[in-house]
Symmetry: C2
Subunit: 447 residues, 2 copies
């Protein structure tokens, strides 16, 4: 059989990069748990009609069918792979509302799938790390600032470039447009959302040509979108534009609350940026979006917002707010740039050499003693000459090689980086703390 | 929209059970890492022709197609969800052989999918935890005992019923059958594999009727299958059956090596059991299989074996051996029996009460101080009366409620289980070690 080749859009990282990913995921998960978010995992599949509640994403869905189905699948029962973690979560809340205690805070770290044409930094299979809070009937506004702070803190603790979360509020923009007398605010939002890509002149031109705004209206919309501040001072800038509307007031109050709290609790991690709109139509208030410093062109790596109407079930309403970290995209970009490294390719801190194949049990015993104290240890694959056994360790970045002593005599442990070698007892020997587990480090871009 | 209902075969566990699952996965992963296995994750999909290299499982595959594909999918490019982690791993090794260092030890903990009709303890989506070692050309026999010991240790450290790994060797059985002059050893294996289910009398009857064995041959096959010992003494029992064959000798030597090492390194965790055959046809030597004590009827929860021919690529051979822990099946059985519990439903150890909504920042500051020292903390959702805030903690099993003091005065922390309350400083207060994180416990079956 010929050698298989990679599938475009379905990344597979070698163990050294998977070590980095696990390290990142452990840190993100630990941060989520420190804030009391409970773990949840939903199944990978949803009924297609659940996935299509928002028609906009229909192109991206992978449908399933059984290779040898006994009968034709009933279209109403067709299953598809989830394309995000928010739609499944909203379904989960509606399905289990009677058993959950509200407000319900959960995190969810899973793969999602999209049948899109793959391109740089875009995958067909990728992992997201989401937190959401959902309540019954109404959801307090303080969650609008808590969630982006948690996400920003999770990322700030990692050896990756800065990820500042840009925040805006749908009510603010929509109220502003209403106050200007604009009939179709969503059409304006969609164009303003492209400011980054097409620039201010084309935004104004499209607002005039495609939505039929006056030049003054279009320029006011642009002026709003260009407001960006590190604190709550954006509100004064908005006021200076001279537009008045009750929904605008609501949006200003909500975004000010977010920025006030962020300035106090997580200075520098959030930014008010009124150009942020988010394409998906289920957001109803605060929205979030972030790019990674130095990788702005690669697009959004964190996104989210408040959805007051996503999880409705009969007369029950479950407003929510959530934020999603694009773990695969972040790591894919950093791996591509060669700016993340790990101190070794395997978990093992020690390789125990084997003196002779019939004495392997002695090496197994040394390894067992080290493992009992939490030191990851591998036993050499074969009783080859020592040079070869040391090379086995060296190739994997395992820092220590243990040579079992003759029966009754102590063994010795060698740091193969320095060459230092000393007698040691497997019941008490400790590696330096920094050698115990693989260490992940940010590095300057190669080359 | 009506309330959604569960999908049969796609389990979704509530956060309290997901906490238990994560605890189990963390322990299993940590054990794998202590033995130096490197992490690997393969994509969820494989080309269908990779999945069909073993035709036997073709009925179980879920195929993918894009909901709105631009052109009809080329059948040769059809993708399916993987149904185990061994076939994708063998493909990964062939694809990346040039970049890997051999012997290559990896663990892989992922979901797999099978389009089977769901039944008790059988899922369509479930998680497995696998370890494998693959080498180039030949693979040393000591891995045949290392892997089941690792899997057995991983499970022995959990609060679950005992899982003793039963071990046999394909060469031993095949050599024995050859020595008896039987023409179709695989046919015999398939029938002997059902000993548990159909009993000895029907095994003998089927061997005579379906395979055409003489009564003496059939009884000898049964006698072999009934040999089970806790150490290497099985070999004497086999010898007493008076059959002679070079392949039988090889099998006996390999299984004896496994049992000798297991008796020394992990007494009681492995058992030689010559009834074990394993249905899948890629195993070539040692095979493993385990049931969970008290849940024997629910079937196999650990399985694996040596596959010398699974990963071949042109002239290159990559013999391997591996073992797989059925994490979802184990937990599904224990959840169903109500024999696993967790000390709380959320990660939070502390709930910080909110005195008044306009003083929420004081509670946020207390929470931040606790989190900085690794104490998982949630802030109350609303400045309700304290009784209601305490009930919020009580419902989730959060053991401590923190009451911020008046500005300048110290706060107090209450253990809501005992009612004990004392002044405390968030910069120094420590919960008892057993309260820091949710604790998982085995429990007697309910009722």
């Amino acid at each position: 059989m010929s050698r298989p080749t990679p599938l475009s859009g379905f990344p597979e990282w070698p163990p050294s990069q998977r070590l980095i990913e696990q390290n990142v995921l452990d840190h993100v998960r630990r941060t989520f748990e420190l804030y009391g978010f409970a773990p949840l995992e939903t199944r990978a599949v949803e009924p297609v009609d659940e996935l299509l509640r928002k028609g906009e994403t229909s192109k991206e869905i992978y449908l399933l069918r059984r290779l040898q189905a006994d009968e034709p699948e009933d279209a109403g029962e067709a299953l598809g792979l989830h394309f995000d973690l928010t739609v499944p979560f909203a379904r989960y809340v509606r399905e289990n509302a009677g058993k959950l205690t509200f407000p319900f805070r959960r995190y969810q770290i899973q793969k999602v799938w999209r049948g899109e044409r793959p391109q740089e930094g875009r995958y067909r299979e990728f992992r997201q790390a989401d937190i959401d809070v959902v309540d019954r009937d109404t959801l307090a506004v303080h969650y609008d600032y808590e969630l982006p702070i948690v996400a920003a803190e999770a990322l700030a603790g990692l050896p990756i470039p800065a990820v500042v979360i840009h925040t805006s509020n749908r009510k603010l923009a929509q109220g502003f447009y209403q106050g200007l007398g604009i009939a179709d605010p969503p059409a304006v939002l969609r164009i303003v959302d492209k400011l980054d890509k097409i620039g201010p002149a084309r935004v104004v031109a499209e607002l005039v040509d495609a939505v039929g705004l006056t030049d003054a209206q279009a320029k006011a919309c642009l002026a709003l979108a260009e407001i960006a501040t590190d604190d709550a001072s954006f509100a004064d800038a908005v006021r200076r534009l001279g537009v008045d509307d009750p929904l605008l007031d609501e949006g200003l109050a909500e975004l000010s609350a977010v920025m006030d709290a962020a300035s106090a609790l997580a200075p520098g991690l959030l930014k008010a940026d009124l150009s942020i709109a988010r394409g998906l139509d289920y957001y109803t208030g605060t929205v979030y979006e972030a790019k990674m410093r130095g990788f702005e062109k690669a697009g959004t790596v964190v996104a989210g917002g408040r959805y007051d109407n996503l999880a409705e079930s009969g007369a029950d309403r479950f407003p929510g707010t959530g934020i999603s970290i694009g773990v695969s995209r972040i790591l894919g970009l950093l791996f591509g740039a060669g700016v993340l490294s790990v101190s070794r390719q395997v978990p093992a801190c020690v390789l125990v050499a084997v003196v002779a194949e019939e004495r392997r049990a002695e090496s197994d015993a040394v390894a067992a003693a080290l493992r009992r104290r939490g030191i990851a240890t591998e036993v050499a694959p074969a009783a080859a000459r020592y040079g070869r056994q040391i090379r086995h360790a060296d190739r994997r970045g395992i820092p220590y090689v243990w040579f079992p002593g003759e029966p009754g005599a102590p063994g010795e442990v060698k740091d193969i980086r320095s060459g230092d070698q000393a007698a040691a007892d497997p019941a008490t020997w400790e590696p330096p703390a920094e050698d115990r587990d693989p260490r992940v480090q940010g590095a300057d871009p190669a080359g």
